[in-house]
């Protein structure tokens, strides 16, 4: 795992100014849609961010990192929850697998949702409370950075 998945508040501050919030509305852009994190109990040390990334460009992209402000969490990891099918003698079992990258094909999209892929927030500095909003920056293999706002929800 590289340090690119770690928090980097300084870089983030610059990028938020550059990219604004919620992604670009212009066609042909790479944008983040509906980024949210589940509200966490006071004792929770980890959380998860879910979102959809739409790559409206004509270029394949790859997600290689993500950052949140250091006052939110100590680090981020891209995780995939896998559920291995149950057999006669054992029930379904879920595990998490760390991924170093996520492909974002041209014209395609990737959805991070409960039970599938998620950005795991490690070492929460404080509980995530419903209604709270924090910044997230995605790092692409091209070097581009995409900023968005994450809304904390309790569905």
């Amino acid at each position: 795992m590289t340090g690119r998945w770690l928090t980097a508040a300084a870089v983030l501050a610059a990028a938020v100014v550059a990219a604004g919030c919620g992604g670009s509305d212009e066609p042909g852009a790479l944008q983040v849609v509906d980024a949210w994190a589940r509200a966490t109990p006071d004792v929770a040390t980890n959380g998860a961010i879910y979102l959809r990334i739409e790559n409206g460009t004509e270029t394949d992209e790859t997600l290689v990192g993500a950052t949140v402000p250091e006052e939110i969490a100590a680090g981020l990891m891209l995780h995939r929850t896998t559920v291995t099918g149950g057999s006669h003698d054992a029930m379904d079992e879920s595990a998490m697998e760390e991924m170093s990258r996520l492909e974002l094909p041209a014209g395609g999209s990737a959805t991070l949702e409960p039970g599938g892929d998620h950005l795991m927030l490690m070492g929460l500095k404080a509980p995530l409370e419903t209604g709270e909003v924090f910044d997230l920056q995605l790092v692409l293999a091209s070097g581009d950075r995409v900023s968005t706002e994450v809304e904390v929800r309790d569905p």
Partner: protein, 211 residues
């Protein structure tokens, strides 16, 4: 890559995950109900674990619902970022959707598989944020936990990475246990809360008629 997935094989795990996502209809339009009734109910009447919730005060309590009720049983851990909070939030949604008389007949038991990190205080802080009442089962030893898991045909593994991370894999189904301490059905992970509510209501009706 986690130790867990390395030992299992990435390709196999991804294939299985894909199948489950398709089967469960995650993100799709037509989510089928994923209640599975067991052909042969699992007898869990021999399982009694310390309930460290405020109501249980650490005393051993047997599995099973109150007469005419049902108990939902889930094996998990509190540092779980995805499956466990999603499942607990869905149970909460089901409880809220039920009429109060129905909800009062539905109890919830969480069995921690992470004995090292899930202290009673952590468990109660975690579960209490989702549910007003629950049983927080915490075995006193790995052997006691393993015995309980065997009765449910459940399992878990905990692996420590070189960087200090802890990887936990665990049975992700939500069991439905009746008032005779028989696991009669399960919801597979990914069941839509509305579908779950429909099935729970049906199961409660059945349980009420039989008692």
């Amino acid at each position: 890559m986690s130790p867990v997935s390395r030992t299992r094989g990435l390709v196999a795990a991804l294939a299985a995950a894909t199948l489950v996502l398709v089967a469960a209809g995650c993100g799709g339009e037509d989510t089928p109900t994923t209640l599975s009734r067991f052909d042969q109910p699992l007898d869990v009447s021999a399982v009694a674990l310390p309930d460290v919730s405020p109501a249980g005060r650490g005393e051993a309590v047997p599995m099973g619902a109150a007469p005419g009720g049902l108990q939902l049983v889930f094996f998990g851990y509190t540092t779980c970022p995805d499956i466990c909070p999603t499942t607990l939030a869905r149970i909460r949604a089901v409880r809220r959707a039920l009429a109060p008389a129905e909800a009062s007949r539905l109890s919830v038991a969480f069995v921690t598989v992470d004995l090292a990190r899930d202290t009673p205080a952590r468990l109660n802080g975690y579960l209490g944020s989702f549910l007003p009442r629950y049983r927080a089962f915490r075995a006193t030893s790995a052997a006691e936990l393993a015995t309980a898991e065997r009765a449910f045909k459940a399992a878990h593994t905990i692996a420590r990475g070189k960087d200090g991370t802890v990887e936990v894999s665990h049975t992700s189904v939500l069991y439905v246990v009746d008032d005779s301490a028989r696991a009669v059905a399960m919801f597979r992970y990914g069941t839509d809360p509305e579908d779950m509510t429909t099935d729970v209501r049906r199961l409660l009706d059945d349980a009420g008629e039989q008692s």
